[in-house]
Amino acid sequence: MPAQSRDAAIVGVHEFPSRDVEGALSPLQIKAKSAAAALADAGLTLADVDAIYDAGEGGGMAGLNIAEYFGLKPNVIDTTGVGGSSYEYHAAHAKRDIAAGKANVALLTYGSTAHSAAQRIGVGGRGATGHPSDNMDMFAGMTLVANYAMVAARHMHQYGTTSRQLAEIATATRYHAMRNPQAVQAMKDLEFLDIRETSIDDVVNSRMIADPLHLLECCMISDGGGAVVIASPEVARDCAKPPVWIIGTGEATKYPENGGDITTSAAAQSAPAAFGEAGVSAGEMDIAMIYDSFSITVLTLLEDLGFCAKGEGGNYVEGGKLRFDNPAGPALNTDGGGLSSNHPGMRGIFLLIEAARQLRGESTSQVQGASLAVAHGNGGMLGSRHTAGTIVLAGD
């Protein structure tokens, strides 16, 4: 594929290992520790960084305060904050900025203490943001889980999708989590009951949180963080690890529209842009790192990314197709995903990290010879307003 761009590559990654820092670290400290480890992974230093990308979880004036906190005076500052997909946007923008000659080494970081701060992300009351859309919706008590559950209900209604099909996604990610010592430790630290591989029956017999979503179809709420270093080809050539090339990017938004179809997400807009730029199709992906906030998120995104037609996701995932050792389909969330390894609120950075590990041959559920991966982040809420960020990656 000679037309494929090789403008920028992921050269360093780090996933912060703990999911429960017990109040001993702040989100900013997790970001700094992760930055140091990702730069070391790349064989680079802080002095090499000339561009920072930040979703603003460390507080206001994100571009300024994170630069000062790290001790950087970057030439490029990007504070795109669009929820859990922010890091796919950051990777896209880093590629664009590096290709334009504005930067050579980009640093993306994330830190969160959602677990130790006891944030009720999934079933908590929604804070009023002052945005007019919230002023219309907040009286109804739509929890985040219910927001996604309404997509699942409609998907079932329109296409005949079943809970047992949705459960395939949770069993595949748990299958991978049990092979990942960090994920197993995470489940122990977060006091999961009965930590083991799960069956379809286990998932559909777990308690209902918001119909039709069961407990085991909902992601964990952990502490955590990570960092990704993206560099120009000139820098990447001399880094410690083989480069993982960013070959396609796409961005999109979706929000409630009168008469709109809730079963189609913003990915239907971002994926064609990303795969089109990369000159490859979803069917060629060895690895599918797809934001698994809930089972229905993955099912919807698999369809919108083009792994199967709209409405056929239920049939598509059956038979353990998403497991890393099943060549019939892409390997889904081989780290264990947000469902069973790591979800501190904005999981997007881990999609890039595990995709890079796979393309370097470093995953705990390694797909032999993996050469192409897609990382797709969903930010905000699938059942109402959300963002999509699609990144297509290729091994060296």
Binding site: R120, V123, G124, G125, A128, G130, P132, S133, N135, M136, D137, M138, F139, A140, G141, M142, T143, V145, A146, A149, M150, V151, A153, R154, H157, R207, M208, I209, A210, D211, P212, L213, P256, E257, N258, G259, G260, I262, G383, S384
Partner: protein, 144 residues
């Protein structure tokens, strides 16, 4: 065994919209008069919802408010069984839904006066007001 103390705290109440939010204030003020309203663009006919002071098709600010009849259908719904919000925890399980009004607006609400397990997508529903001090909250029940 200690004697149970009487709980003198006020009962938890439904979170209510802010009447000073400028885009949606006309909608909420009209609910106080028992009117379910929505803006329509006079230039291109677009139904704008959630309500805004401009058209989401052409950015025109030439909009009029119209009154909806209060009939609609359940586009999709979920039964919430777990909530940490004190009010919603108290009424769980309850149904949240996206309701498609006959005139086009789609709004988030609750479906009430029915066992949530009997709610179906596509079910016809009608407006029922839950009155509060300065406004009313539009909820929906199965159509009669």
């Amino acid at each position: 065994m200690t004697e149970a103390k009487k709980d003198t705290r006020p009962a938890p109440s439904r979170p209510l919209p802010n009447l000073n939010e400028l885009d949606t204030a006309p909608f909420w003020k009209a609910t106080g008069e028992g009117k379910l309203t929505y803006p329509v663009c006079n230039d291109c006919g677009t139904v704008v919802f959630y309500p805004r002071a401009h058209c989401t098709s052409c950015l025109s600010d030439n909009l009029d408010w119209r009154e909806a009849c209060g009939r609609g259908t359940v586009y999709t719904f979920s039964i919430v069984r777990q909530s940490y919000h004190p009010f919603f925890r108290g009424i769980a399980p309850y149904a949240v839904a996206w309701i498609d009004l006959e005139e086009g607006p789609r709004l988030a609400s609750n479906v009430i006066e029915i066992d949530p397990d009997n709610i179906e997508i596509g079910m016809p529903v009608e407006l029922v007001w839950e009155p509060h001090e300065d406004l009313s909250v539009p909820l929906f029940k199965p159509a009669t």
